[in-house]
Amino acid sequence: MNYASFGKGLAFAVTAAVMALGSSTLAKAEVPSWCGPKEASLALLDGYGGNSWRQVTAASGAQTASLCPSITKYEYVDGQGDTQKSISDIKATAAKGIDALVVFGDAGPAVLPAITQVYKSGKVIVPYRVIVGGKEGENYSTFVGTTFVDNGVAWGNWIKEQFPNGANLLYLSGPAGNSQGLEQLEGLKKVLGPEYKYLNPEPFDVTNWDPALTQKVLTAEIAKNDKIDVIVSDFGPSLVGALPLFQKSGRSIPALATSDGNSLGCLWHEVKDANPDFKLFTVATGTDNVRLAVQWAVALATDGKVPDTNVYVAPAFEDSATGKPNAVQCRKDLPGAIYLSSELPAEDQAKAVGQ
């Protein structure tokens, strides 16, 4: 008996040791295919760096670049929401001799001339996520986008599963007319037929992604509509303060299809028992979009193998109904303003957001 268990233990230990050895050599050898042999320097130029989403993104970008030993230097520049500064940042970074630039062009087409100028001077430049206009190979090396339509489709499919016979929807997005909100609506409409009724004014309730305004908007909608079956929002964490309003008016929080955030996951765990209708489905909030952009820039600058796609698709993240791909996540010990869907470990995110 004793001997047998000792033997088992020994076998286990040996296996573990072998596996550990194997994986460590594997880790050493594993230079990603997008990382080529040519040495290069890289900069990530943010249009606006002042929120947790951006800070996690910046940290993710740095971490991705650090996987490639050919990258000799990595810089992060914050445009501070100032279009003029963003433009001069792009030009100055190129003039300093950085070989590859990844640009979050918040100002949109306003930064295109600077991007084009840098591209024409022979640098690698990859704008990502925000459409800046222009053409690949003419104004920039490549554009790494994301498909907000797919978010809408994912939400729509989930809503269809939860409410097969139709439902009353409330769709909230950011500032009036923002393209993300419109693309997501396009996705929702692809999947959901006329039996799904939108309670919000066309095309969506404007919240500016501001939690206080979200609270006001939701107050009005709750008072107006006796039956809200499901809320769709593209920024889940901004709803955290507003959702308890349902309980205040003696109703259960309805189903919610949105993007993830630690504070939202924790709220779900906190109130789920008192709110039987509160089912939660999230797609990843997209802080990993930057990784694909960095991979492209590095591949082009170091003669590595370019990734297969230049479109980032946000995967589904949490589903409280099925637990697939994940059950609802909450890290109470870490700040609310981090995103557990991110590839960057939660502890590193907490460091990145400075708490």
């Binding site: 002042g50 004014p201 939690p211 609270q215 006001k216 107006k224 504070s263 609310g336």
Partner: protein
Amino acid sequence: MNAPATTPEGLPKRSLPSLPLARSFVTVVISTLVLLIVCLLFVPSSLSGGALSGSLPFAAIIAIVGLGQLLVVQQGGFDLSLPGAVSLAVVISTHHPHQDNALLYQAVLIALAFAISAGIFNGVLVSIFRLNAIIATIGTNALLYGAVFAVSGGVPSITTTLLAEIAGGDTLGLPNSVWFALAATAVVSFVLKKTVVGRRFEAIGANPLAGRAAGLRVRLHQLMAYVYAQLLYCLAGILIAGITREPTAFQGDSLLLPSVAVVVLGGTSLLGGRGFPISTVIAAFFLNQLSQFALAVGVPYSAQTIIQALALGFGIGVYSIRWSVNLRKATETKNVEERK
């Protein structure tokens, strides 16, 4: 010009000076009643208990910052450092305690210290160095936002449960934030109208030169207006931190325009002088109910904005029409007096 005290015929008209208070008060109350009736007819849901308990806290916030702006406007000034001040109070009261209730009182004290410093800084620039109030306070706003970033890095933090309970809870059926707003109104009204300091403050606002001639400490009163205002902004910021579970670092930005709007709606002249705290607070309710009405109508965002603008125009319009009538009466009195 010295005649009025002794003209017998001037006596019946003597009741005129009490009219301005009635006028601004009546105007804002009528506007609010009209709005409430319109709400009742078209979107009764915007007046339901749930809607009110959800929206009143925001009315309370606008009322408190409006009172702060009122005090500065009374001295012929303008305080554009409001967004930075409110945001700083928000981030200090969420980031410093970091969800630890025991640290909340420290955070409140730190926020108060910042508010007083910012107020003195504004006051010194405007009243002693005679800088233009708009320019000086814009500069202060930038400094305050610097502090906001230093404290928060622009990242929101979840509020403490204690603050959420204090600011977001209910007492006697009314949201606590409303009680805070009522208390602030009572204090401002009482001090302004019933104490020596308040009477002097108002007199200096009406005419600083006359105030100086009368031996009042004009600059000190002008300086203190900015300090009082900052204290009120600080209160508003702390309340927002409690009402919104995860407030952003820029929560003050959307309050600047409403703060001036309610002062104007409340009937206070932007040139300074007499202030109407109670009318200002009612105007805050009006403005908030207006945006709630626009939201509840359920029309597209563009139409919501137009409805708000029109109704605001109506509110100010009602006021202006009465104002011109009174002006005529006032000039008539003046003519009568001059003829004497």
